[in-house]
Symmetry: C2
Subunit: 255 residues, 2 copies
């Protein structure tokens, strides 16, 4: 049996069910270089008798190690947030189902529903976009799709969750911060000129959502740029133009 | 301090953090008539020394009981799923923030990210809609907005999560099932005639997502209508037309 177990949004974010299952598993794997902190990892380790074996993404994506192991043992694979948010892990589920390997997903908290803490109503979120780092190898290639997704969502009076890129290199992960994201968005504005980002535009900037040090700010880009959000994980939300009074009421408390 | 604590999608869905906080709270409230099962409630009660006090929705919405109590005590309010998915609880958060009452949200798993288990990628979901029961008091008034949301999402190549209505009466909650939802959708088709629902249309039907008895089926409405999904909670997904091969691959395993 293969258990894909979500670690949720921060320390002790795993569900009680997840922890119970974890304690009974023969083998426990976790993706290396995930956003989980050392404190969080140590606290989890202290609860378990079985060691947590780190796996690099290449092994997860290019080998059938997890599926092979789970044909003989109870295997847990730990994933930050809710397990299937990343497409890599959906592929793993698809592969397991094709191999008739039983899989159970142990869900946990995710940015996708936790953003309701801003006051913006979940059912009004349109498509999500990820803002990528400019690709230095391809003459600073900057895709315009994030800008276009926001524009299309605005036409449908939908909010846009803007996830910030994670660059995975051999030895580390590089997380885009709000301060890095803002100039990229301004740059897209100067290229596409639909006035999505003006000096008056107020957007939502969030760091460490769901953790004790979380920060939510609703303000102009200039003010957000001067705000100290601490290290990543960060994300942004571009709200719909037409807000319900209840959305406005809560959102304004973060001004 | 007021803690809004998510119970997640099923038994033991609460996070380890949530349970730790709960054990230290002076008072624990829970909304009455929520979707939580008696077994789940008993299992939670057995872990706690403090009793769980049921609250009807009217008291939550129309009084400041929770905010008043949390100015003197550590108060937990238990909510199924992720706490702020329902707009009622966002209003509670807004009210608390206006009253300078400290609030901490303890997130948990939610249908909004758990739907990734179907294989459909989360970032491609557009606006969510809720399919309401026909209103018998108003000559069977049937709003067309769910149909229009699906149509608009299809134009943007987005998936639509279709939540099914919950009717709250004085003494109980009535949950719409898949078998009740399908004829309502067919009825909207015969009224609006955009061919969203034909005999060939395959949609996703889900019951008890995130629980051990969960069922996911991707099929025509006729076949889904003959499938036994058990009692509620149920929901539906209308997938975008243009699916990524990875989405198709996993989705087809539920045919």
């Amino acid at each position: 049996m293969l258990y894909l177990i979500g670690l949720g949004l921060g320390p002790d974010g795993i569900s009680v069910l997840g922890l119970k299952i974890l304690k009974k598993c023969d083998k426990i794997y976790m993706e290396q270089y995930t956003s989980i902190s050392q404190t969080e990892l140590n606290s989890l380790k202290s609860e378990l008798k079985t060691e947590i074996i780190p796996l690099d993404r290449k092994t997860v994506e290019e080998t059938d190690l997890l599926i092979r192991e789970s044909q003989k043992h109870s295997v847990a694979f730990l994933i930050p947030g809710d397990p299937l948010v990343a497409t890599t892990h959906s592929s793993l589920l698809a592969e397991a189902r094709k191999n008739q390997t039983p899989v159970q997903i142990i869900h946990s908290s995710s940015i996708y529903s936790a953003v309701a803490e801003t006051g913006l109503q979940l059912y009004k979120f349109g498509k999500t976009t990820t803002l990528p780092f400019p690709d230095k190898e391809y003459e600073n290639y900057k895709p315009t799709s994030p800008y276009e997704t926001i524009q299309s969502n605005l036409q449908n009076n939908s909010h846009t969750l803007i996830l910030l890129d994670i660059q995975v290199t051999q030895n580390k992960q590089n997380y885009m911060t709000i301060q890095e994201a803002l100039p990229i968005l301004k740059d897209l504005e100067s290229k596409l000129k639909k006035k999505l980002f003006t000096s008056k535009t107020k957007i939502v900037a969030i760091s460490h959502l769901g953790q004790s040090n979380q920060l939510i700010k609703y303000n102009t880009m200039e003010t957000l740029n001067k705000t100290n959000f601490g290290p990543a994980l960060h994300c942004l939300i571009y709200p719909a133009k037409d807000l319900h009074f209840q959305e406005k009421e809560l959102l304004e408390t973060y001004s």
